[in-house]
Amino acid sequence: MSTAVTARRLDPTSVERPVLAGWGGIVLALLGLWLTLPPVLVRTPLPSLVLAAVAAGLGVWVVREGQRRLGWGAVVVAVLCAVGAVAATRSGQGNLERVIVWSALAAAMLRFATPLVFAALGGVISERSGVVNIGLEGMMLVGAFFGIYGTDLTGTWIGGLLIGMIAGGLLGLLHAVFAVSLRADQIVSGFAINFIALGLTGYIFLHHYGDQGTPEGLPQVPDISLPIDWIPFFGPALDRLNLLVWVALILVFLVWLFVFRTPAGLRLRSVGENPRAAATVGISVYRTRYLAVIASGMLAAMGGAFLSIGFVHSFSQNMTAGRGFIALAVVIVGKWRPVAALAAALMFGFSQALAQRLPVFSESSATLLQALPYVVTLIAVAGLVGRSTPPAADGVPYSKE
């Protein structure tokens, strides 16, 4: 049975030809850009421009065949790759080799993606139960603050992580009280959660630490050293990652397993799709949603705690800087699925990693590139949203009557 399904998926005649051509165009354009970067380093833009032109042509054809979104996507990618290739061939080889170190970029991508992965998994669980959680940003922020505050109090990072998660869970509980029991408008109450988190963390932070900031030398979540640095690319990329990076990757699998392969996950999804039907077969809609939102707060808080005790090793006011909102976009781009959300988070992580390494070329333009992850989010949400359908009851308050 399953082999039959796989065979049918691989059979090219079953895929529409425009779809194939559109994706083919995107791959060609990316190949052209790749040629001009280390280690290949073709020093003339000509081959890349030819490939980009072919990709754009394919894109136009795909648009005419009716696949407008994909077609325009291919055209945009072709143009961006052509610009990138010209820029790359014009910049010095030394600079390029300093910026484009694929293994270092991959490691940075994983690091930047980790907080997004945690928060996005929280978002997936919450939205699968039918509760939109705009408060992810605030829940990350309390995770970041109470993570380091708890570490300071208990003297261990495990204590900090737990206290951070409890704080995130409590904020999730607050959101659940309003979103579930009081049938509040979930976007507005979630937004309020962000304000409260911002004020509360800022208040306690200043009251407790003043101008000094969080103390240095607090215990941190350890890095995991793997004896694999002899493997090309994967060795240097993966041999010294933070423990929480691995935890995030494992959690992606566990959340997928939970949501799609367990009876509890089925109940969760049924509550998000049709709460009345779920209630009819004896599932408690309120209980499921409460648990989902609390779990989502704890996951988002883990992401925040990674920032403060795994990555930056300090706390500053509003240090999450919109990552919770990006995580929300990750959920949408990832179509409310854990594994696809991981892929989306890696894409944003990559754009952040790139923005971080580009100051080599120009200090001032690098500041502008800080906007890159947000632009990518905007394009992704605008370009992909039409093709992703949220759970049917997402954002709709449910009343027992």
Partner: protein, 399 residues
């Protein structure tokens, strides 16, 4: 207004604005009181006295100027403080209108801050260049271009929603951050609009003397009250007329009630979204220009980054929600928040009573609580002593 459970096109914002529109001032007053009460608990936990703290915040806001019995010296100080409060209130009022107009069309405009930035940047750019232009012309030009810049920035989100269906909540938040970083880049060291005089300070050129808004109350040297507040007053009237007496406003409200029904009635919902966001952006953009021509005069990248957290555009959301998206409501809640922010500012709050930097965060908590309490129609309707509306018929049927 029928409310469908599975109707995704009926946005939460439109449902909320339905609950908020009813008459009465009791609910918002009680909401604010509860929020202040919880804020008082937070103060008490810190070990300060909530009553003297609130008294100090009230005095810091200058609202005691209205009391006839205060002494002459107190009145002088109060006048200075009240001028500051009204200066703070002006952009909040405009940003509140920007959020409220979107709410009435069923959109949640979180992008007030980005639209404010667009107006601020274009305002400082126009205001600091074009030397020698007559003052009045210069001011009008900066106001118009800044307002347009805000409109464009808001319009992007509306256009994306109309053409691709991109959720305006996400897109406006992203546009906020894009605007923030564009500003930090443009006015930062080495940026294209960086100051010609201060090579080491990340700040813009100052707005030329001619292009600054005239001060009509207080000393211009001591940041007296500028005429921007009258412009905000005009914007309030524009808001009301546009919403209640124009075709565009009618279409916006119709789409806010129910986009599907509006489409059926011949209103192009997508085009309406774009138009509404253009208007919202214009209000917020105007707030930005008024701030720059009225009292800031130059943009420092530090201020941009701080405003990204607690700027007028964000507070405008709380202003609109507490003001129940009406003209009068937005006015009074802007006054409340203006007083609160100014009363807790480092300059106006007596540090002996309560540390101002903590009070700033206290303001955030109070705002958050207000928004949270307003978010739940059950609470709002209970405060009104109204019965919650019955949900749709098939929900009432026994399952």
């Amino acid at each position: 207004m029928s409310e469908g459970e599975g109707q995704a096109s009926l946005t939460v914002a439109s449902r909320l604005s339905g609950y908020l529109r009813g008459g009465g001032v009791i609910a918002p007053l009680l909401t604010a009181l509860i929020a202040f009460f919880v804020g008082g608990l937070v103060i008490a936990v810190t070990g300060a006295n909530p009553f003297s703290t609130y008294k100090a915040i009230f005095d810091g806001s200058g609202l005691n100027w209205l009391f006839p019995w205060i002494s002459h010296d107190d009145r002088t100080t109060a006048a200075l403080n009240l001028q500051q409060t009204l200066i703070t209130m002006t952009p909040l009022l405009l940003a509140g209108l920007a959020v409220a107009y979107a709410f009435r069309a069923g959109l949640f405009n979180i992008g007030g801050q980005g639209q404010y930035f667009a107006g601020l940047y274009i305002g400082v750019w126009v205001g600091s260049s074009l030397h020698g232009l007559p003052g009045f012309l210069h001011i009008v030009l900066a106001l118009v271009l800044g307002t347009l810049a805000g409109a464009v920035w808001g319009g992007i989100a509306g256009f994306l929603k109309a053409t691709t269906g991109a959720n305006e909540v996400i897109s406006t938040i992203m546009l906020n951050y894009v605007a923030l970083w564009v500003g930090v880049w443009a006015f930062g060291l080495g940026g294209p609009l960086h100051s010609d005089h201060d090579p080491n300070v990340p700040i813009s050129n100052p707005v030329v003397k001619n292009a600054r808004l005239p001060v009509f109350w207080g000393d211009p040297e001591l940041q007296g009250l500028h005429v921007g507040i009258f412009l905000a007053g005009v914007a309030m009237i524009v808001f009301w007329v546009l919403l209640n007496r124009s075709v565009a406003g009618y279409e916006a409200r119709a789409v806010g009630f129910n986009p599907d029904a509006a489409e059926y009635g011949g209103i192009h919902a997508g085009r309406t979204y774009t138009k509404v966001m253009l208007v919202c952006g214009a209000f917020a953009g105007l707030a930005g220009v008024i701030d720059i021509l009225g009292w800031q005069f130059a943009v420092a990248t530090n201020d941009i980054q701080n405003a990204g957290v607690v700027g007028a555009g964000f507070i405008g959301i709380a202003v609109a929600l507490l003001g129940r998206n009406t003209m009068v409501g937005v006015f009074f809640s802007a006054l409340l928040f203006g007083a609160l922010i100014n009363g807790t500012s480092v300059r106006n709050l007596d540090p002996a009573v309560f540390p101002p930097e903590l009070a700033t965060n206290l303001t955030l908590i109070i705002q958050g609580l207000i928004v949270l309490l307003v978010s739940a129609p059950v609470i709002v309707t209970a405060l009104y002593k109204l019965r919650p509306r019955r949900t749709r018929p098939n929900e009432d049927a026994p399952a």
